[in-house]
Amino acid sequence: MQMMKDRMEGVPACTFPVVEAPYPVISNDWVNGEYKLLVVEAEAAGLAARAGQFFHLACPPEGENDNFLRRPMSIHRIDRERGQLHFLYKVQGNGTRALATLQPGDTLDALGPVGQGFSLPAATQHVLMVGRGVGLATLAPLAQMAIAQGAKVTAVLSARSQALVMGRQVLEEAGASVHVVTDDNSDSDVVSLEGFIRRLHAASPVDFMATCGSNRLLMLLQKLSEEFGAAGQVALEQRMGCALGMCIACVRAFRKEPGAEALTYRRVCWEGPVFDMRETVAW
């Protein structure tokens, strides 16, 4: 705590909420065969991030790939005690492969926090979050926030196999009750999940739902949230230029109003990445 205090004193009056800064890398280890967890040391501006916000990360150039653009990455964990930010990312293309080369002692050039995070109605009692694959990275801070707000959290983690389940520990530490479903176990399909959620809701009514990373899950939660009368939000992805609302590249089509037929483009980085499920068009 003392350390934290000193760090905050060193920071100039934080008039600009978004900072482009070098973050010292603390660790960058594989969590399974596909994902790495990047932990960096953060200053006040970075730690002010809210659940659902993201950072825009510069990936080091590698050989022929200069990785010209930054890459958007959700905050997986905001550890204000230790003054750390966690990113959980899938190593897939040129950019994330280059990110994967960062080592303790290197610095991560990150821009953020940016975007509209989750907003949880004050009276929320029971949050259900369902995430698949990398979607899990984004949902964890919501659990932290919901529990801090006094709500109960049930997190359903869906993955191809048990070995690919991630984030369980972060969620349980935050106080969520975690339910794992896998393709291997044949309980990750929509029908099984719908059954599970209906039973859960019957036992303890769900009044807020959140998801990320799967169209299939989004459609299921859209249906159930409407039926249950629960609020619902979804974190979306799109290719980005600036992450600051400037280039208007990261649009997706949304209903002009919740439930409306008429569509309009909105910027995932600026109006989102978290959107009301009722205005979101499944893809």
């Binding site: 200069d66 010209f68 821009l111 600051l244 609302g245 590249a249 649009v251 483009y265």
Partner: protein, 312 residues
């Protein structure tokens, strides 16, 4: 102390660095104080409401990006009521970029947005995404001249014309814009380009073609800025691939009076203030007391002395 101010027609800018249209919005104000800028050039608007192109709208290239945004627009009324008041909180002149479907509409839109707070109007006659095959007003000297005439007749604000680089003879278009009454030229918009994902065999942006922006194409745009500056008396504002003070200075030596920075702000949102500082440092190092004195001071090789020499 270096005098950083530059004059663009009747307008004096505190420094020569401004945003390129379509690459700045409210969000940049979350990163630094936009009052530091020489000017704030806003995203092109049309008076008709437009959603823009379908996504994906951006692809990463080597040292460059391919953007295909179209001109999403909320119209002139929204601009007057929201955009102008927002940027008026900053202490930098606002330059309003506009586009339209016809010459008459260019004039009409110029009139509609000539409101207090707007210091100049930039005519985007060159957006490569709007018309099939990239054809635009800016590819034709006569159409360019008429667009400017229509606008100068409709407003007393200075008209800047942002040229299209997708032309054979930029000097001819530059002269046409000057004859039409332009106060300054912005050289230039983005070169039309494309890229294909060879695994899916699909274009990398949905609209097939887009503008290539960023450092990769700077030498082409620099050449055009030079040619335009040679062709006209009015100030030229360089634009294309500027991502450092060195790049900005290169444009000024070639004849630009000021510069616009686009894609570099996406890569590094603080780049514009850094460029301003960097130009200042260069001037100090080279004993240049007024930044405006850099304009057009490239020293050509003496063709005759060179003709048969082989010096490195």
């Amino acid at each position: 102390m270096v005098d950083l101010s530059v004059r663009i027609g009747d307008l004096t800018l505190a420094n020569p660095v401004m945003s390129a249209s379509g690459t700045l919005s409210e969000g940049l104000g979350d990163v630094f104080d936009l009052s530091l800028l020489g000017a704030i050039v806003t995203k092109t608007i049309t008076d008709d409401l437009r959603e823009g192109n379908p996504p994906p709208r951006v692809a990463e290239l080597r040292n460059a990006t391919l953007f295909s945004i179209g001109i999403p627009s909320k119209g002139a009324a929204y601009f007057r009521e929201n955009t102008v008041p927002f940027y008026q909180r900053y202490n930098a002149p606002i330059v309003a970029s506009v586009s339209a479907n016809t010459i008459e509409e260019f004039g009409a839109l110029a009139a509609k947005i000539s409101v207090p707070g707007v210091a100049a109007i930039e005519a985007n006659v060159s957006c490569p995404n709007l018309k099939a095959d990239g054809m635009a007003f800016g590819m034709d000297a006569q159409a360019t001249r008429e667009v400017v005439q229509s606008m100068t007749a409709a407003t007393r604000l200075p008209i800047w014309v942002k040229l299209s680089p997708n032309v054979g003879n930029i000097a001819a278009i530059a002269r046409a814009a000057e004859e039409g009454g332009a106060s300054a030229l912005v050289v230039a918009n983005a070169l039309l380009a494309m890229a294909i994902d060879i695994e899916t065999r699909r274009p990398k942006v949905a609209n097939l073609m887009g503008g290539i922006t960023g450092p990769a194409v700077k030498p082409v745009l620099l050449r055009m800025a030079y040619q335009a500056a040679q062709a006209v008396q009015i100030p030229v504002i360089g634009c294309g691939g500027i991502s450092s003070a060195e790049d900005a200075i290169e444009y000024m030596l070639a004849g630009a009076s000021a510069v616009q920075v686009g894609t570099a702000s996406f890569v590094s949102p603080n780049i514009m203030p850094r460029i301003i500082k960097g130009i200042e440092a260069y001037c100090e190092r080279h004993g240049v007391s007024r930044i405006a004195d850099l304009t057009g001071t490239m020293r050509k090789f003496d063709a005759e002395a060179l003709a048969m020499r082989g010096s490195l």
